[in-house]
Symmetry: C2
Subunit: 714 residues, 2 copies
């Protein structure tokens, strides 16, 4: 007996040794690190009262069981009472289910909780978690668990949270054959072949993870859509997913191929104003709702990159959206209509086209349509300005589309904290109603009183054992949920919470890893696209550098279209003298960005054509500054790898090594970017590399000929 | 303290509650079920001496750590001494590293151990695990751990094992884009894009699992080969895999596309007798070995289903194989040349063609060629006779190709214990040298004194979290390894060991689950292809029934070519009066199978055309017997599901539910097979269903029109 008790006290080291493939995400519920910590939480966790009965209550009960088993390593049996005379120390119940004495104690605060919100309040030695809805209660439970996971104090807790945005969705660009467009973490987790008969545990864990960060919807199929998903064969399968997700508060959305009436039922047209087409969508909606009574609605990519759309019939985007919106309206469904519309035949600067097309349609959409706008006007580049539509559509609700998957950011093997980028966008000021009219306020509806609000994240999830390829891709998923719930959330706090829940509460680890994470975004921009460069990646798969990409039929898909480098200068003039994309922004910005002297260096070449030997505010010429930033990026990546190496032994070896291995790839690829871009642009600048910038490892020829087969994600 | 100690004693229930996705396969190292069991093994496991230093010793050390952590749930720290004066109770060391006193005690027995074999011997209160090689020691360690996992006694252990077969390989039909031909467990686990820089933990766990069952080679790419895998880009990646696998005794093999000299280097021909082609292969081999010094060799599919081969140049299969064999010979490499050669233009019965082509070439292959023959002459049907080449090639080594993935057996969602089928094949008598000339003896080389021996299994592994889709697919992987090590292994024991190591030692569970497993094969044959029916599945994806498949350009890929049903009769006459495929077997078999009266009912329609109202030995007409067998199959599947349902609570809920869910699919699909086949064949027989056979749920039209998109595995 002596031996057993002793070894029990050594229980930290096995945790570090244990295999951990990261599948549990931020819901690791890691064991309490010592007896004191365990004892602090024990009394509370062993005395829980959960009132009410619904499938969501069952989910709450299970989650408490999983977490308590984790915290105490199975050494205590979760005992959750459903008796409202119980002397529980944690009470979890909707307001209407609480004993009146508690309701009276909470008083007015109860009225501040909205549909999906919750209140956690420490009162008279007990912790109350309450809400107006089942889902609010689930969110509250996860919030309490997060508090424990991050080792927060329980006494004095007083948290009232309401989501600031209504539609908080993941967009999966998953094809029915399970490939994932721009997916770098393996293949689609949706096994359509086994559906509807087999509901995999992974679907449940997916729903748990999403619910834990407040995500309440999932569009499960690619925006480059296959109409088959609207047939009974697939509706039955989608319904099975919807059933599995329902208790977690997650609605299913499907992508609608605009010409589905033609593809599925041989209609002669998909013209949105043709009564046969309108009738077809109405019937289709009726059919869908017979399978999925709470179907969320459609997500549509039209008139873009080969997808059919209203243009084919000389109709507007509003005509298209409204026809689908009318069909789902009777059932409470919505349409998310993407603003990512552009065409190589339009002679205008590509980044201007969405604004030109949608701005005149402001106010012409049905009230159950929301226009989904990418964060920037080009396409998920490492750094872009905010999209000029934000602030420009006061009468049409706009929702944000962020890309959680890293199409242009090194794909899955680079550590880059996307929340840093998203924060930059969300805090950008549109000046739509004067100073302080941030993108964040457009999105939460407060600026224009939108009736619908939303944020979508293009998912980075796949069949990889850790879901996201890079373990830190989980942080992006997590942060997306948190920012969708509240776009004003602090990114530092999000990062810190995620690290604690996912890896360890060891402050040395948390501080160092947080530091790496928060520096990762700027580092990546430096080694990929410093000074406002954009769209200089390899063709088609978008992995690695390709500043030399030119020709091939679509100028707007080449690098030279965007950087326009020649012997004298580099950059795209988007001022009044050029494409005047600048004209789509507020006057306040025109002043700043209209002049290269006042344009922040991060956006210099986005707006201006600048000569190679132009002196910049840093005192360096443009060429020297560019070279030095590429070098800084490489050094930043090396620094990340070195800092991480110091953390060995502080977390489990399996995830430590995995991240190390990916950081080594990141350093190599940062060098690849630097060397190939500087060799390529150096041809034009004709200038030597400044001091401190390493000589490229190979000649330009080598990089031009570097070709890899079967790059994933296409 | 009281509370902690108490709850420690309850440690079984958390194991049942814990999430278990099956990733750990049969290397679960489940916690000891009670203190008595733990105490019995504790003294041994806490006193281990491991002598010697090599990467494989490091692997052994880690495996001991993992297993001990598992057995004791991290409550004891593995302490493994490398000091040969230690008083360890378990000694693990190669014979040459053992102290002389131990060597003297073992005496003559040491000489009985071959290169890869091992001896486990209890002697003077200690357990000795010894071998002549590092890999033998690894196999011995896994054998000892298996003994503990299955709760065997340690005192008195005396196990001497040498593998009976030299080449024990998995064949992965994995494409470079990560799709898997005939793969039903997701996608390829080989992430070529991340190689060579990232070695995933899954590769290591793959190697551990294989080593634990004696597999010593892996051909990692599809036999429908892409020549790119022979380029430096991919050789560098394959080399990284080889490096990862090496300490586990697993060699890498690659599939060679026969016209690679043309595809990669624009040679005008791939004629195996052309000196330029021969020089090309020699240079290619030199290149490959510069990347992978212990490269195993090539696996080749030629002149089959669209693959190029020696036929294109009017050369023989021996000509083709020998050219490649000469290239790898200087490095110790081999060529595995597949006998699966057939052609729709050859007018002969498809199942005769491989024998006709290869038999005359007996003795014409180089000594580093081994011909790889599928278990049966058609193509991995639910039930086939053994291939007539076995026993017919005394001067050319033959190796077995079994299909671990279940292309024709319901794919991943049916529980069918493939070892039952394999045992039937291995124990079949070829009569090549009189009675007792079993396929097993052909394979182990004892019948014809082959210098090379081998067994290959077409892998069922994919990205699914449990590796194999169905949890019981792991049993097929496990059993394949065990039978490759020793084709005389007892299938009942294999099944029982696997159940214990994978799920639980609870005898109620083990007995019931074993019973289900051992009945599963006959059940499946009954609901799919009773009475010798074959190749009656759906076109192309081979999922589900398709007895109506006809036309389409290749008769030998249709169902009607094989069953030939009409109003009078059904079956393929392969006697002397028909195709005389029978003539390829020994005279002893011609007597038995030449007469429908003496042909076992399992092979009746394989050899004979039989009229619908022919009375069989069972007393039933052919039609009634067929219908009743389909019904029996369905009832068998239902019985399996019911028996399994009784086991809830005896193992972890996650895997219990997963298997339940798949069993429900199996029952549905068994009904689908029965209903559609009986409706289809009933058209010809014109007879009513006999009593006890349920009426089909739908009409034939329904089944004919049943179509599913994106069936996996193509």
């Amino acid at each position: 007996m002596y031996k057993i008790v002793i070894s029990f006290f050594l229980f930290i080291s096995p945790v570090l040794l244990k295999a951990n493939d990261g599948y549990k995400l931020w819901l690791q519920y890691l064991p309490f690190e010592n007896i004191a910590v365990a004892d602090y939480y024990r009394d509370y966790l062993e005395n829980i009262t959960l009132l009410g009965n619904s499938p969501t209550h069952e989910v709450i009960r299970k989650e408490l069981g999983i977490s308590i088993t984790g915290f105490f390593e199975g050494r205590t049996t979760p005992n959750i009472s459903s008796d409202n005379t119980n002397s529980g120390l944690i009470w979890i119940a909707k307001a209407e289910d609480l004993p009146e004495s508690f309701r009276n104690l909470l008083g007015e605060r109860l009225n501040e909780i909205n549909d999906e919100g919750y209140l956690i309040k420490y009162i008279q030695g007990k912790i109350l978690v309450t809400s107006n809805s089942d889902f609010g209660l689930l969110y509250g439970t996860f919030a309490l668990l997060k508090n424990i996971q991050t080792r927060g104090k329980l006494e004095g807790l007083d948290i009232l949270e309401n989501p600031k945005i209504k539609l908080r969705l993941l967009n999966h660009w998953d094809n029915l054959n399970r490939t994932v467009e721009r997916g770098y973490a393996g293949f689609s987790i949706w096994n359509w072949h086994r559906l509807p008969h087999h509901i995999d545990q992974q679907y449940i864990d997916y729903a748990r993870a999403n619910a834990s960060i407040g995500i309440n919807g999932a569009s499960v199929t690619n925006v480059n859509a296959n109409a088959l998903v609207l047939t009974p064969e697939y509706l039955e399968k989608a319904a099975a997913l919807a059933d599995a997700f329902r208790p977690y508060g997650i609605k299913i959305y499907l992508t609608a191929r605009f010409n589905a009436p033609m593809m599925l039922d041989n209609l002669p047209t998909a013209d949105p104003l043709d009564p046969r087409v309108q009738a077809w969508w109405k019937k289709k909606a009726e059919e869908i709702y017979s399978y999925i009574p709470d179907f969320g609605g459609f997500l549509v990519k039209a008139d873009s990159e080969g997808q059919p759309g209203p243009h084919n019939y000389s109709r507007t985007q509003a005509d298209g959206a409204n026809t689908l919106a009318d069909a789902v309206k009777p059932y409470g469904g919505i349409v998310m209509w993407r603003a990512f519309v552009y065409n190589e035949k339009t002679p205008t600067d590509r980044i201007k086209q969405a604004y030109d097309e949608f701005k005149p349609l402001d106010g012409k959409f049905r009230d159950n349509v929301i226009v989904q706008v990418k964060n920037g006007p080009l396409d998920f580049q490492p750094r872009e300005l905010f999209h000029p539509l934000f602030g420009a559509m006061p009468n049409t609700p706009l929702m944000m589309e962020f890309q959680v998957t890293k199409e242009y950011l090194g794909q899955e093997s680079h550590w880059v904290n996307l929340a840093s980028m998203w924060e930059e966008i969300l805090q950008s000021d549109t000046y739509a109603k004067g100073k302080g009219s941030t993108v964040s306020k457009v999105l939460d509806g407060s600026l224009h009183q939108y009736n619908l609000t939303g944020m979508a994240g293009v998912s980075n999830i796949g069949t990889d054992r850790n879901w996201t390829g890079h373990h830190t891709g989980q942080a992006d998923w997590y942060a997306f949920g948190k920012l969708a719930w509240n776009p004003e959330s602090n990114v530092g706090e999000i990062t810190e919470d995620w690290l604690k829940m996912t890896f360890s509460n060891d402050p040395d680890f948390v501080n160092s890893a947080k530091n790496i994470s928060l520096k990762s975004y700027e580092t990546l921009v430096n080694y990929m696209t410093p000074l406002g460069l954009h769209h200089i990646m390899a063709r088609s798969h978008h992995w690695g550098p390709g500043p030399w990409v030119t020709g091939g039929g679509r100028d707007d898909w080449t690098a030279t279209y965007y950087h326009r480098a020649d012997k004298n200068a580099i950059g795209f003039d988007r001022t009044e003298n050029g494409s005047n994309a600048l004209g789509q922004y507020a006057p306040e910005w025109k002043k700043v960005w209209g002049d290269p002297e006042t344009t922040p260096l991060e956006f210099l070449l986005w707006f201006h054509r600048v000569s190679w030997n132009q002196k910049l505010s840093t005192g360096n010429t443009l060429w020297d500054e560019m070279a030095m930033r590429y070098q800084q990026g490489v050094e930043g990546a090396r620094w990340m790898a070195n800092e991480w190496a110091k953390l060995e032994g502080k977390i489990d070896q399996e995830r430590y090594s995995h991240i190390s291995s990916f950081l080594n790839i990141q350093v190599k690829e940062a060098e690849w970017w630097r060397d190939s871009c500087l060799l390529y642009f150096g041809q034009f600048s004709g200038r030597p590399l400044p001091k401190g910038v390493e000589k490229p490892k190979h000649d330009l020829e080598y990089y031009l000929n570097f070709k890899r087969n079967f790059v994933p994600g296409i």
